[in-house]
Amino acid sequence: MGTLLRVRNLITSFNTSEGQVVAVNGVDIDIKEGRVLGVVGESGCGKSVTSLSIMRLLPKSNGIIAAGIIEYNGQDIVQLSEAEMRNIRGNEIAMIFQEPMTALNPVLPVGEQIGEALEIHQSLTLKSRENRLRCIELLKMVGIPRAEEIVDEYPHQLSGGMRQRVMIAIALSCHPRLLIADEPTTALDVTIQAQVLDLIRQLKKQLGMAIMFITHDLGVIAEMADDVIVMYAGKIVEEADTYTLFTNPRHPYTQGLLASRPDKMKRDEKLHCIRGMVPSPLDMPPGCAFAPRCDHCLPACYQAMPRLKDIEPNHRIRCWLAEQGCNN
């Protein structure tokens, strides 16, 4: 399987009134064709900024890709012009967001919004018959009942789950090879979330695209991803295939996250807590960013940031415990 997307040493920063904030700090990502890469982390860890960097959709006023390469299909898209990038967006890489209501235009019928994407990327004239038929076909593909009627309805007439399906239909309208899904089910109810996750899985099988799946929910990751990246404070702290990550997590942060969920906990057991909170990006501790919250902290942890190190094939962690060869 070829590597579809190769990100090396991506550094993205924002200029704010309080100073420069480095949101993503040296991230390496490989997404292979047809695989699902899960990116998990808490708010502010840089997972969404990473995806916006890949799409080159950072807020123009203050967001910049300060360094790094983002290679899509062998081509560095950091260097592309805005016009060339537009061609890649939608045609090659598509994205779905957390809040389907704000991502859809409230004054246009959903059919027209899908149609627009078809017009831009597949030159099907907006009001034409083929365009409309293709819209209906896409709506059916994402499991929308009464597609012939829904195509003329407005976003506010649809439920949250339906809107997210429409977003997916728009994203898939041009057969992207990579789909970036940024918390696509966070705003949805459990039963609807199950429907949408199921849909994404089916579509992936059907269309063979690669997916970068961003979420804070470890449960969703366990269900969707082939490989997982755990991010903390703008850096990758652990990287492995899903089975390894969930059966043998090695970074203390990953272990803490997994133990924080009460899903498998007995009722009288005490929940494990990661103490403290995520450091402010304006005030990062020297050394490992997780050190102040870590239970296995060594003196070295406060001095320098460890490298992301292979501890076994396809399993890397960024931790001094691994550097020093101890097992935890």
Binding site: V190, G219, T247, R261, I274, M277
Partner: protein, 328 residues
């Protein structure tokens, strides 16, 4: 068994839908539709359901924060309202009773007045109820902050200077200021990060022990509900479909909706590959609920009579009740 602290009988809360030129009432949203339950002293009672099922409205109606449509609520022997007998507690008594019952909200950014210092926020109740002077109340606020895991020297700071998790702790400190017996948590951890959720949940557990609290815990997160609550009610479109202890409900779910919720819950365990029940369709409009069993439109096991007759409550055990035609 402990004595009953909260007794809710046939509670209904309808929100009128108004339309037309003269804002005539054209229907009702049946947010809470005839629910009956007790909460015993020292118990954690969980309410779980999807958005719009009426779980938050239930909490607010019990606290008399919005006027009921029908039914009665008795708190510690004192009738708050009984619509059938047309008795309502008077204003002065209610204000006194409010000291004993408090609520913690979901959004830690909206629930604290941005223009008040943390000390003023926490001590407000004590001062306004004339239970303490301003100075004493501030001392008490410091104690409560420490109790909730925030250093007391933060008492003069303002809400915007804290993170989401810390604000939720402040919110909890405020609710404890009047020494209540009963606290309603309306999705108190839903807006927080996973690691912070565990911290706040643990804090709530500790406080319950220290201060002999009784909780009504409202959440959409089954994993949290199962772990945290003693008894749980599953709500669908304003009604309870199943009530039981945590063990009964999770080991032996009888109502198909409970089963669906359980199977839809993503679990961070790669070995746990359950067969999911994926529901068709969306939650029906609560203004126009289906006839018979409200779940029959989405129920995988629906039969003819489910759409005709409303199921009655069946007692499986002293603590386990279910409403479903298929359970005998």
């Amino acid at each position: 068994m402990n004595r009953k602290l909260v007794e809710v009988r046939n509670l209904k809360k309808y929100f009128p839908i108004r339309g037309g030129v003269f804002s005539k009432k054209i229907g009702d949203v049946k947010a809470v539709d005839d629910i009956t339950f007790d909460i015993r002293e020292g118990e954690i009672f969980g309410l779980v359901g999807e958005s719009g099922c009426g779980k938050s409205t239930t909490g607010r109606t019990i606290l008399n924060l919005c006027p009921p449509t029908a039914g009665s609520v008795v708190f510690a022997g004192q009738t708050i309202f009984d619509v059938a007998e047309n008795t309502y507690i008077n204003k002065a008594k209610m204000q006194k009773l409010r000291r004993n019952m408090q609520i913690i909200f979901q959004d830690p950014f909206a629930s604290l007045d941005p223009r008040m210092s943390v000390g003023a926020i926490i001590s407000e109740g004590l001062v306004k109820h004339k239970l303490a002077t301003r100075r004493e109340a501030l001392e008490r606020a410091k104690e409560l902050l420490e109790l909730c895991g925030i250093r007391y020297d933060n008492v003069m700071k303002y809400p915007h200077e804290f993170s989401g998790g810390q604000r939720q702790r402040i919110s909890i400190a405020r609710s404890l200021a009047l020494n209540p017996q009963f606290i309603i948590g309306d999705e108190p951890i839903a807006a927080l990060d996973v690691s912070i959720q565990a911290q706040v949940l643990t804090l709530l557990q500790d406080l319950k022990e220290k201060m002999n609290l009784t909780y009504l815990f409202i959440s959409h997160d089954l994993g949290v509900i199962r772990y945290f609550c003693d008894r749980i009610a599953v709500m669908y479109l304003g009604s309870f479909v199943e009530v039981g202890t945590s063990e009964e409900l999770f080991n032996n779910p009888l109502n198909p909706y409970t089963q669906v919720l359980l199977s839809a819950m993503p679990v961070a365990d790669i070995r746990d590959r359950r067969k999911r029940i994926i529901l068709q369709g969306d939650v029906p409009d609560p203004a126009n609920p289906p006839s018979g069993c409200k779940f029959h439109t989405r129920c995988p096991y629906a039969q003819k009579r489910c759409s005709q007759d409303e199921p009655v409550e069946k007692r499986i055990s002293e603590t386990h009740q279910v409403r479903c035609h298929l359970v005998d």
